[in-house]
């Protein structure tokens, strides 16, 4: 299936004002909420909230652990959620989706369970300088423990990957490339298709961190041909506490489980034990039923709007914000000058004003933005700053949010500017 087939852009103009009404948080408070922190975590539509409540209200039971009707229905609903998420990323089969607690846990599973079993001294692992700490630290540790080297793809002056500067990236010692699809700071969409194609020519597996992309731009694991891909529900309108790892069949079979316990084993004996089949092998402990059901409903909700439409909408919002913010004296936006490679994320700083002050004053104006290093200290070093302010847009935002952001920035400059 192609991107277009999965994510058609309908001819009619979508009604994003009506879509915003799907999110009760925007009408729940006395004051307007200008939520521009969706890259940290997204807001939840009615359908997801209802799915979680309904699960606990009328469907809740143990998954894969009971023989009575309620338990059987719970198990079926859980597996149906897995199928929905497999379809969401066009995975060939549901068994390729392993539920985890988060995208972070999914990366740690690959780092410990796959890389930790095979890296040897002299091997190399590659990440990029724009990675979130969750796609950096697990590799740093496994490389340290196994005597391998962690190599870093540098960035150019606009923050984009400098593949030409990554000498040896596709070399004979490279065992895995782990890279983000979409930068949580710069909003850059990385050319992962090209990178995976070049890696595949040398049989180098690639892990894609889709935490920021899965709910915002088309993600098709068959078109990408990646070996691993991780995503998180809470960043794509779903509940907290659940994510998934997609892993190709061969890669899955080479992976040891991260967590051992109930539900992941067939036979336990005093000397040795026999793991059960995939994917249950990787899901020790009682599964998060309500999380999985909420995740699947979120995926269906996003699919219904269409990621092509969502990408276009968020791109337009970020473009408008880019234009408005660029006109403010003393404000610098990080990343490429053109909006060509951007999604809905904009990072910026104001001369002489700390990003925490910008976020605090914006918060007092009802504008929720993030400030800090965004768990990307290596990228901050590249940008030569300790922190940035970040506005991240979702399809439920609108032009009023951009105007409120601009007004909050002007207020910040009025209070703390020279």
């Amino acid at each position: 299936m192609t991107h277009e087939a999965l994510n058609p852009i309908p001819a009619e103009k979508p009604d994003f004002d009506a879509i915003r009404k799907d999110f009760p948080i925007f009408t729940s408070g006395a004051e307007p909420l200008h939520y521009l922190d969706s890259a940290a975590t997204s807001q939840k539509p009615h359908c997801v909230i209802d799915a979680i409540a309904d699960c606990y209200r009328s469907q809740y039971g143990p998954v894969h652990r009971g023989l009575y009707p309620l338990a059987e229905a719970a198990s079926e609903a859980y597996e149906k959620a897995r199928r929905t998420l497999a379809d969401f990323i066009n995975a060939p089969s549901p068994e390729e989706i392993i539920f985890t607690r988060s995208a972070t846990e999914a990366i740690n599973l690959v780092a410990c369970g796959w890389a930790g079993q095979r890296l040897v001294a002299g091997d190399e692992m590659w990440v990029s300088q724009m990675e979130h700490h969750s796609n950096y630290l697990p590799w740093q540790r496994v490389c340290r423990d196994r005597g391998a080297s962690l190599r870093v793809i540098p960035l150019d002056s606009s923050g984009q990957l400098n593949l030409d500067g990554a000498t040896g990236l596709f070399g004979k010692n490279t065992r895995l490339i782990a890279i983000t699809h979409l930068s949580n700071v710069l909003g850059i969409i990385n050319p992962v298709e090209k990178l995976i194609e070049l890696a595949a020519q040398k049989s180098i597996p690639v892990l894609i961190d889709a935490a920021q992309s899965a709910g915002h731009i088309p993600v098709d694991v068959q078109a990408l041909n990646c070996d691993f891909l991780v995503a998180s529900a809470h960043k794509m309108c779903g509940p907290g506490g659940i994510g998934f790892l997609f892993a190709k069949m061969e890669s899955r079979q080479q992976t040891e489980p991260l967590l051992l316990g109930g539900g992941m084993v067939d036979q336990v004996q005093s000397g040795t034990s026999l793991w059960t089949d995939i994917p249950a092998r990787f899901e020790a402990g009682s599964p998060n039923l309500a999380g999985a059901l909420g995740f699947a409903v979120a995926a269906n909700y996003i699919q219904q709007i269409g990621r092509g439409r969502i990408m276009k909408r968020e791109h337009e919002l970020a473009d408008t914000a880019f234009e408005v913010l660029s006109g403010i004296d003393g404000l610098s936006i990080y990343g490429p000058d053109s909006s060509q490679h951007r999604s809905g994320i904009l990072s910026f700083n104001i001369d002489g004003i700390h990003s925490h002050d910008v976020a605090q004053i914006a918060g007092e104006q009802g504008v929720a933005i993030r400030a800090g290093h965004h768990c990307c200290q290596p990228l901050m070093q590249h940008l030569n700053t300790s922190s940035t302010a970040r506005a991240s847009f979702s399809f439920y935002n609108n032009e009023e949010d951009i105007a409120a952001l601009a007004s909050a920035i002007h207020e910040t400059i009025k209070i703390l500017g020279p």
Binding site: I353, H354, Q360, G372, S386, S387
Partner: protein, 134 residues
């Protein structure tokens, strides 16, 4: 939170700049937000003759450093240590009493924002280390 007194200290910091003539200089940093403050003291017979600072940080951190330099200058080392402890206690507990020095009251507004506690206390921790360095 951004009250007149804090803004005055942010825009017109007292005792900020070179630390060459100090007896003891210690650095405090918060890698989470990039704040870096150096606090220097010069003493004369157990009395803080001069308290100065330099560095970078958010408005709260810089204003706190400026207010601290003003209200600790002239104190005995023992009294300054006591004030540091009072500040830490004030920011640790919701019902703890404000420090006896009323010029610190302006910092009290920050207590409603626990995420900024470290910003306020960073210069005080560096001062504490400077006192230890004596």
């Amino acid at each position: 939170m951004y009250k007149t007194v804090l803004l005055d200290h942010f825009h017109n910091p007292r005792n900020k700049g070179e630390l060459d003539a100090m007896d003891s200089v210690k650095r405090g940093s918060n890698p989470r937000c990039g704040d870096e403050i150096e606090v220097g003291i010069r003493t004369d017979d157990e009395v803080l003759e001069s308290v100065r600072f330099r560095g970078r940080g958010c408005s709260i951190c810089l204003a706190s450093a400026s207010i601290m330099s003003e209200c600790t200058q002239g104190l005995t080392i023992q009294r300054a240590r006591h004030l540091v402890r009072e500040m830490v206690k004030w920011f640790d507990g919701t019902d703890s009493e404000a420090p006896s020095d009323t010029t610190l009251a302006a910092l009290g507004a920050v207590r409603q924002h626990p995420a900024r506690k470290k910003c306020v206390l960073l210069p005080w921790m560096a001062l504490d280390d400077s006192l230890d360095g004596k």
